[in-house]
């Protein structure tokens, strides 16, 4: 088995991983930084982010405003100290990206332009046309090429963390092109492996977003926090789930049901704002959870239309005009044309909610440090505590940058004062993994990855969807258990070495099953409704702060299942209150219950 | 990353500049030249007088103190020759028949030789 020695190992070449690698290399040029990714960094799913990245920018805006929006958006489950740190550093990070060459969209005078985004009081979202993630990722990737101390390991698939007595020692990876196992030793490891949206059937995520990093840490005893909070994006294309960015609504797009009625006004988001005059936090610019829930309600009432067997509503952009669309939303026009054969300038786009983002993830402190010494996590795979029960659009790209930098710097500081563990310490772990991998191959097998994966994603969609109830969750859980047993019998029938995708998919499925289990069990344990987690059961449809103003922690048990425990929320300055959108926002005090009336 | 070996500057700009200038002439001047010198006379568009020896010599040598002749030779013969040489040189490379130093010397060498010949003939 090949052995390599590095100082810092970054797993993941998305926005978070690249930002961390650059920060680590910048901190001390004497450190060897390895950047591992199962795909070439610029293929990472950050590339698909369309809308933008948030930071307080305008005169009339304030850090307190961004803080409040984020905390109330999170339904008070965000760590407020983390949010404070975040809003304070987001601007500088976006500027840093600008100074690295990111082609942010501009105002006529050459200054940065910001756009509206759902759940944000005012315009504070930086964007690069409607390809913000693409430009951020490529800017970071290209900037990383400048750094001679960053060594890339492209198409290396990490299958295990090497841990010795609660201290990280490195990672074990499969070199995709040769099929060989490689042991990479390091003093600090940063997990930046992205989300887990692919455990659901309809999702906006790329095929690589399979929750690997979450499972890697979880299998070594690190808690996964707030896993029940899975964000549905209200506007995915039917079938493929391809995202139609929220920026469409920021620009003034409206949502219509099959009768052409702007149904959001019926769900606490009104009154109806005039077409072409979007208003922050009203109607289409309400938060994602509310909008996705409204779709579900419409579907129950039979008010959704049918698009080739998928229930849909419509996103109408026609009034924006061809020129404006081409300028502000060119990628959306391209996507609509290719995948539903529609020109948004002349016809409304059929859309439906799709799983978009995992708010939960690997538990870390404000320094991105996990419970294993030297193991850090950042980005969508982590739960640093920014998003709580519901993430606001455009906070996550900024998170990658703000906390990517923190993770890189912290890892570098730690690596400088740590000694590498001896090879011998991890030898047995490596041999065990090697034996396990070899045992996966067989000439034939009745079951397939595809079959199990399909059942998994459908079960999750059924049981852990926009609305949940006890019966559905229980049945999802038993399906998951059955699938896990089938998974143990599953074999890889392609025994070739080079580029064995069958093997990788097999391993990804294993990661996904573990993550799905934590989602389902956390959802069962939270018997209230909050943010993206909405229960239909009697007595659970409201937010219940006296019992559940706390984070769930899923910790792996010896039998492989998750046990749920709880962790208090850090509240610094904004005590829990109702979340209000639409006109209810004003006279919020005692008035009511937009949060749960739907 | 620092360069240890810096890539060698190509002399291609010289040839490309000639090629481009020749390309412009080929597109802007040559069609007219073919028309006026080959096609119209052949199809009887002009009277014989107009193409008589004295008139043509005079045009070539005397008009604008001889500059017209020079411009004509340059834009219809010399530069297009370099244009052609460039395309042939690269075309040989495309056909995997050359493209190396030999074809370069032959192509641009002939273009230069023929250009000199043309200039000599009007001098």
């Amino acid at each position: 088995m090949q052995q390599l020695q590095q100082d810092i190992i970054v797993v993941g070449g998305g926005g978070a991983g690249l930002r961390a690698a650059i920060a680590a290399a910048d901190t001390n040029p004497g450190l060897q930084v390895a950047l591992l990714s199962k795909v070439y960094p610029m293929r990472s799913h950050t590339v698909a982010a369309e809308g933008g990245a948030a930071a307080v920018t305008l005169e009339q805006d304030s850090l307190a405003g961004h803080f409040q929006d984020t905390v109330s958006g999170s339904d008070w489950l965000a760590e407020q100290d983390v949010v404070e740190y975040f809003v304070k550093h987001a601007y500088q990070e976006l500027v840093q990206l600008e100074r690295w060459g990111c082609p942010w969209s501009r105002k006529a005078d050459g200054s940065i332009q910001v756009r509206r985004f759902g759940g944000m009081k005012t315009e504070r979202t930086w964007f690069a046309a409607d390809k913000t993630g693409f430009h951020i990722l490529h800017t970071l990737f290209q900037t990383s090429l400048k750094d001679p101390t960053i060594t890339r390991f492209d198409e290396y698939f990490v299958i295990d963390l090497l841990v010795v007595e609660q201290q990280i020692a490195g990672v074990l990876a499969i070199h995709f092109s040769t099929g060989e196992l490689v042991q990479i030793l390091g003093k600090a490891v940063i997990l930046a492996t992205g989300g887990a949206g692919r455990v659901f059937h309809y999702n906006t995520n790329g095929g690589i977003v399979t929750g690997d990093g979450m499972a890697l840490a979880y299998r070594h005893g690190v808690a996964l926090r707030d896993m029940e909070f899975v964000q549905y994006h209200p506007t995915g294309l039917p079938g493929s789930g391809i995202l139609i960015t929220e920026a469409c609504r920021g620009e003034g797009g409206v949502l219509l049901n099959k009768d052409g009625y702007r149904y959001l006004q019926d769900y606490g988001l009104g009154p109806e704002t005039p077409v072409g005059q979007p208003k922050n936090k009203y109607m289409e610019l309400g938060p994602r959870d509310k909008l996705s829930q409204a779709f579900w309600q419409q579907q129950q009432r039979g008010l959704t239309a049918d698009y080739h067997g998928h229930a849909v509503v419509y996103l109408d952009l026609r009034h924006l005009g061809k020129a404006h669309l081409a300028n502000r939303l060119p990628f959306i026009c391209e996507l609509a044309k290719s995948y539903v054969n529609i020109d948004p300038a002349t016809a409304p786009i059929p859309i439906r909610p799709a799983v978009h983002y995992t708010m939960g993830g690997i538990l870390t402190d404000i320094n991105c440090q996990t419970s294993i010494a030297g193991l850090f996590a950042v980005g969508e795979c982590a739960s640093v505590g920014l998003h709580g029960a519901n993430r606001l659009g455009s906070n996550s790209l900024s998170e990658l940058l703000v906390f990517g930098k923190v993770a890189g710097e912290q890892a570098a500081a730690l690596a400088l004062k740590t000694n590498t563990l001896p090879l011998s310490a991890v030898a047995t772990q490596c041999t065990r993994q090697q034996t396990y991998i070899s045992s996966l191959f067989a000439d034939s097998c009745d079951d397939t990855v595809h079959a199990i994966r399909t059942e998994l994603t459908l079960a999750m969609e059924q049981g852990c969807g926009i609305y949940r109830d006890n019966a559905g969750l229980q049945s999802c859980l038993s399906t998951l258990q059955a699938l896990k047993i089938r998974y143990q019998q599953l074999k890889v029938t392609d025994n070739s070495k080079a580029y064995n995708s069958a093997l990788l998919q097999h391993l990804e499925l294993g990661f996904g099953l573990d993550v799905a289990d934590t989602i389902c069990r956390s959802a069962l344990a939270r018997t209230e409704s909050r943010g993206a987690h909405q229960r239909l059961d009697e007595g659970m449809t409201q937010r219940n702060d006296s019992d559940f103003l706390k984070h769930s922690l899923a910790i792996r048990q010896p039998d492989g299942s998750a046990a749920i425990s709880w962790q208090p929320v850090t509240i610094t300055s904004l005590p829990p209150a109702e979340r209000h959108y639409g006109s209810a926002e004003r006279g919020s005090a005692g008035s009511g219950s937009t949060g749960s009336s739907v | 990353m620092n360069d240890t070996t810096q890539a060698k500057r190509s002399d291609e700009p010289v040839w490309w500049a000639l090629f481009s200038a020749g390309g412009v002439c080929f597109a802007v001047v040559v069609p007219g030249a073919i028309l006026a010198l080959a096609l119209l006379p052949a199809f009887g568009g002009f009277s014989a007088d107009n193409l008589s020896y004295p008139r043509i010599s005079a045009l070539l040598h005397d008009a604008l103190w001889g500059l017209a002749g020079l411009a004509f030779i340059g834009s219809v013969i010399c530069l297009p020759l370099f244009h052609a040489a460039h395309r042939i040189h690269h075309g040989l490379h495309d056909l995997k028949l050359g493209g190396g130093l030999l074809s370069k010397v032959l192509c641009y060498g002939s273009a230069a030789a023929l250009s000199l010949l043309a200039l000599y003939l009007i001098s």
């Binding site: 698909a48 400048k146 | 291609e12």
Partner: protein, 236 residues
Amino acid sequence: MSKTINIARYNPQTDSQPQLQAFQVDSDNSTSVLDALLQVQQQDPSLGFRWSCRMAICGSCGVMVNGIPKLGCKTFLRDYPDKLTVSALAHFNVEKDLIVDMQPFLTHLAAVKPYLINAEQSSQPHRQTPAQLAKYQQFANCINCGLCYSACPQFGLNPEFLGPAAITLAQRYNLDSRDAGKAARMPELNSKNGVWGCTFVGFCSEVCPKKVDPAAAVNQGKVASASDFIISMFKP
């Protein structure tokens, strides 16, 4: 509707060259070549190809469809009523089935110093007007899919040629009003494997799924390189 798709298979351990294999897939109006490949992979899990975003932005799924470089996820079966043959991207070494070695491509990208070079320190953003942005914006839209390399015969003939995407990226930074690194980038562009490796075949721009027009970038690079040549003559 069932449809036949021929796939060029190659297993490095056993094959000496790619062989076509036919598969049946279900197809409707929205089935992409990527969808079809995913279906085939269910029948034969050993089929190797790259993909991720399935929305034409990550650049991983490039393949030849009937001999033309295409993004699998943005090419639809409906547009190929007759025969459909999918093979690995041309001009790259084939590692397995539809997976090619992208390393040369990445090396070429890195060679042009594709990052903003500017020594000025500041904690404020640069000013850049929409007009200044427009100068390079199109060239910044490259998703590094490599289709243009498979389209470019000059790259096929000479693998050392930096190629359309790398040169486009160099131009993207050279044209950026915030950049001061042109001098550092020019030596690579000035070489015979830089802009001068191109004969304006132009097919690169034809196949580019993002309308980047790399051919324009490369040939604008020639003008830049030629002026650099002249300037260098007047320098000691």
